[in-house]
Amino acid sequence: MSKKFFQHASLWLSLGTVLVIGLWPIVTHNALNRETAFTVLSAVALASSLNILLGYTGYVSFGHVVFFGFGGYVGFYTINVLGWNIWMAMLAGGLAAALLAYLLGVAILRLRGAYFALATIGINEAVRAFINNFAPFGGPTGMTLNFKIYKAYGGAMHALQLVFYIMVGLTIIVTILSYWVRTSKFGLGLLAIREDEDAAEVMGVITPSAKNWAFVLSAIIPGMVGAIYFFKNGTIEPGLAFPLRTSIEMIVMIMLGGQGTVLGPILGAAGYETMRDYLLVSPLFKNLQLAISGVLLLLIVLFIPRGLVGWLRQRYPKVRRWLI
């Protein structure tokens, strides 16, 4: 069998996982399951996007939620004030996030290691503080959708259904994108940057432009997810849009599944969200959910830093051919 076949097998495995999550509420016809699946899929989409920057390129963004929040705000504004439909708003959110990433990337991707991580925290806080003062976006109180807007989609029930299908579609797109980056020549350049940026440059990788495109690619989908997430939520405010904790949860999901792999962030996000749901409803652990996640994170960092998929690849060399 050719190498291509095995590589494709890995793509089908990843897409299959996403489809199982996406089809589960449709098959069971359960609105509650749909809400759960929506949360899991948005986590998968965010984690897989960040993985392009963190896993493939080796740049640790601690403020990646800024693209989710900014895309969410721009999308929300176009729906609420300009009266655009959800599709246009989603595009606007994605483009706004991509543009922000491009401009920021030019400036901060020169920083390496911990300095880059610090700068991303600073930018998230700066954008949050700015929007807190930005009157067109409602300042500290944010914005609330007029309920009538859902009428155009056949009522709130249908709007929720539609938003879920869009989410499934976005997650499929991000999976294919992640797989394409991982197996393309462009992605090979990113992996080289991760291993040794100076050596990559010597070998002919145009590092500033490669890094910048990786940053932009990792920002588009979070911007779109933000737009539909807040359309569904019906209200947006700075505290909801830019929580530092969500940025770090994305990293935890990637670490859990295995950074730098296509399947890893998908499994990590699904596993983390499932665990959190379980802890949140359990009366014993409800208050300690954050502490337990912390213990889990520490154990992964100390003992299995490669995550589940990375560990499998290391432990069973045979699976490396089809598990990326």
Partner: protein, 286 residues
Amino acid sequence: MMDALIRSLIDGLLLGFVYGIAAMGLTLIWGVMNVINLSHGSLIALGMFSVYYLFVGLGIHPYIALVLTAVLGLIFGVIIYFIAVHRVINAPELSTLLATYSVNMMILGIGTAIFTTTPRNIPLDLGSIQFGETVVTMTRLIAAVISVGVAVGLFLFLKYTRPGRYIRAVTDNRDAAEIVGVPSAQVLALTFGLGTLLAAVSGGLIATFFPFTILSGETYELKSFVIGVLGGLGNPVGSLFGGLILGLIEGLVPMAMPTTWTPVLEFVLFVLILLVAPNGLFGGEE
């Protein structure tokens, strides 16, 4: 107008000293072991609660409680180092960032369960004194004096004691220090303990004049980042000046525009300094 200006200037400067020692804890750890301690904020919050419970629960005067808090902070920091940091000290920075953040999650998770998020404040009123036209709150003045004392103490400790010399040796070159017999693991643990001590003390001081919850630490952690970068990461003395600059900004900005713009300016300044002068305004090391 002039009175208000001087008053907010003085308030800002006094606060700046306290912020300065919080940032000193962060930048000491960064300078010696190249670890950005993301549990810094929750350690500041624990310092607040330590002073609060020693005072409200056991009736110990806040400034004596502060000494006990410092000792507890030192011990707790050493424990954190050996549990969470020691194993990944040589790993890529993502590992230490996440390891310290996991400690942060544990403290916040357990802290929220125990203390809830109801705001507390330490009922300590020492009055205020008048300098000509301006009135200065005593608790803030004492906090600033203690902060300067702690900073001087740290400087003397690093400069003249044997453990202090060890710390400076490990900062310069860990391998070379090990070769000449410096026990680097203990030195790193001590450094983490000192960083935690500074965080806890600054938290305890802030708690004597501001209300707080277990989640308050995040604000001060972010301020510590800004100050640390202003003064140069890894440059503890620079932190004190960085703290003063931040205090000045917080004192002066509200005169010109709504207070809510202060964080915007602070974080934009933070990112700009990272880009233009990553070693801080005063050079710093490397």
